[in-house]
Assembly symmetry: C2
């Protein structure tokens, strides 16, 4: 490799939608690794909606990006130089790294990819944060048992579609709620959901749920909140578990105007539990989750969708495309070919 | 003992408040015990508001009482005759038995009282369902750690006052919410709560909570729901736990009109958990709970209030008095003296 490196900086904080001017490319040298460090060549890079929040000055649930500093996010890369015993050149790794062609970091800053029998890009989608969110939320909080009924909202999304497939693997009956007939077909015909419900065309969501779940709802994986969740909460069995992963319907609501039916009486009546979480709550257990997910993936039990754009120069466009709804499934950028395919 | 027995039947289903005509006394013989059975003489008997619900025809969370059949509830008694190896005459027991002077039941239908160093009546209050509700809700769901902040609503009630005292035993900082200055004094001066807040006279409950809990709220034991809980939920720390024990403010509300601020965004933001429960969920662990509570009680670490009326003939009056707010603390009836005090 030559000494040529490149990075993408946050040029300024966008107001409303980001634009191309939000980003700035800079040529830099590749930093020499010190003892215990490695040089990681970026193969795939993830662009995610949550990064928009980090472009603001205020703290969301992660720290804001700094102006004139590189943007960072999920990356799958290859070790091209190592001064650590833990990793050697050619090893594939994943981690949260800067948007650069090459990152020079402590070996502990990346996690070695053990199972390379699956596409490397999967480590940024179904084996990455979205897959792990589904895995830990469903299995740690939801704890579905064989024969139980699992309902998932936002079911056709990256997280929801994985939740449903894991629930099927665990022997549960799975009902997905989504917002288009195309998505419902995808859930039922391609992902093996027992039933999909289009909440936009259903006259009475609760009635549709009662029909789809004649034995009641034991686990509700909640990606959306709002009136969809109000309906599901009227169908809970005793001792139901509700992993709370998203509340999209409330994100843009004024907190003082975001009212709905009180849920405490429903939780009390059914002895049920609801728990908010983010995937980072389980960071100590990521290795186990990735191992299980990779195994299911290599067995053909997990399907997922990716849209992959090629070229580091197209990272800003790929990011901006997220807000135009262009991508189907997880949006990634392929930056380089691995050296030894 | 002679063969004289008496029982109290449900004469008819009351509409609105029960009256004396709701009850009927009947003379019956004492049933002879069969193999494995015991005869229990009633010493103390518990009258509880939840029994009103069981007088209706519809199912609440326990089965309705039958018309012209004896009413049943928590009783502390003494074995006067035994045909079981597990219990002998003189043993003190507790159980859910009929409102009778004597009950003839299988030995397994009652639980032996091991620790008699505390007043027997306590087994129907602080060592009974209310104490166990506080114990399991707080310790199993709330899991307060030393130095954490526990907030309890309905704090001066039988459950709430025990919750706060157990939280103090566990080394937490305890803030109680109640509805009169007299109750606040009781919490702060007699029960050792760190702070009491009178929600009826506080201009701004959330502000008062923020002042009382400068380090935020780690555990919220929710006895009441409604606007009091709305305020507490704005003060949660990350990974807060909320045992959900009551929703008084919603009991009389039409379900379709019982609206409030959505709590899912708050639970999501703080990664917090809320779980509805009733004490029966922990029936397999009652022995452990009673043992701990009895030990704390005999060490003087748990205070409680009882109002004790004497005489089986006064059971209906004691029950009716519950709805006039006459009783301070747990309302009990003393039916007989133990034979060997």
């Amino acid at each position: 490799m030559d000494n040529q490196n490149q990075q993408i900086l946050l040029a300024n904080r966008p107001e409303g939608l980001p634009t191309k001017e939000t980003f700035e490319f800079r040529e830099i040298p590749i930093e020499k690794p010190k003892d215990g460090q490695v040089v990681v060549k970026t193969l795939y890079l993830s662009v995610d909606p949550y990064m928009r929040g980090r472009m603001n000055a205020g703290k969301s649930y992660v720290e804001p990006y700094a102006i004139n500093a590189p943007i960072s996010g999920g990356i799958v890369g290859e070790i091209v130089e190592s001064r650590s015993e833990k990793l050697k050149a050619g090893d594939k790794v994943q981690g949260s790294l800067n948007w650069q062609l090459y990152n020079t970091v402590d070996a502990a800053a990346v996690r070695k990819i053990e199972n390379t029998n699956v596409p490397l890009s999967a480590y940024l989608s179904v084996l990455g944060m979205t897959g792990l969110t589904a895995y830990f939320g469903l299995l740690d909080i939801g704890q579905p048992k064989e024969g139980e009924t699992v309902v998932v909202s936002g079911a056709a999304g990256a997280v929801g579609s994985t939740v449903g497939q894991i629930a099927k693997i665990k022997g549960a009956k799975v009902v997905g709620i989504a917002g288009s007939d195309e998505k419902i077909k995808y859930l039922e015909n391609e992902l093996g959901f027992d039933k999909g419900i289009n909440y936009k065309t259903t006259d009475h969501l609760q009635k549709a749920l009662e029909e789809a779940c004649p034995n009641g709802v034991d686990v509700y994986f909640d990606n959306v909140g709002g009136s969809v969740s109000d309906a599901v909460l009227n169908c809970l069995n005793d001792f139901a578990r509700i992993p709370l992963c998203g509340a999209i319907s409330s994100y843009n609501a004024d907190e003082n105007e975001d009212f709905g039916p009180r849920i405490q009486p429903k939780l009390l009546k059914t002895h049920s539990m609801i728990k908010g979480f983010i995937v980072g709550d389980y960071s100590n257990d990521f290795a186990r989750g990735i191992q299980d997910l990779a195994e299911w993936l290599s067995q053909g039990k997990l399907k997922y969708k990716e849209t992959i754009v090629e070229g580091f120069e197209n990272v800003p466009d790929a990011f901006l495309g997220l807000f135009e709804g262009k991508n189907l499934g997880k949006q990634l950028v392929k930056v380089s070919e691995p050296s030894n395919k």
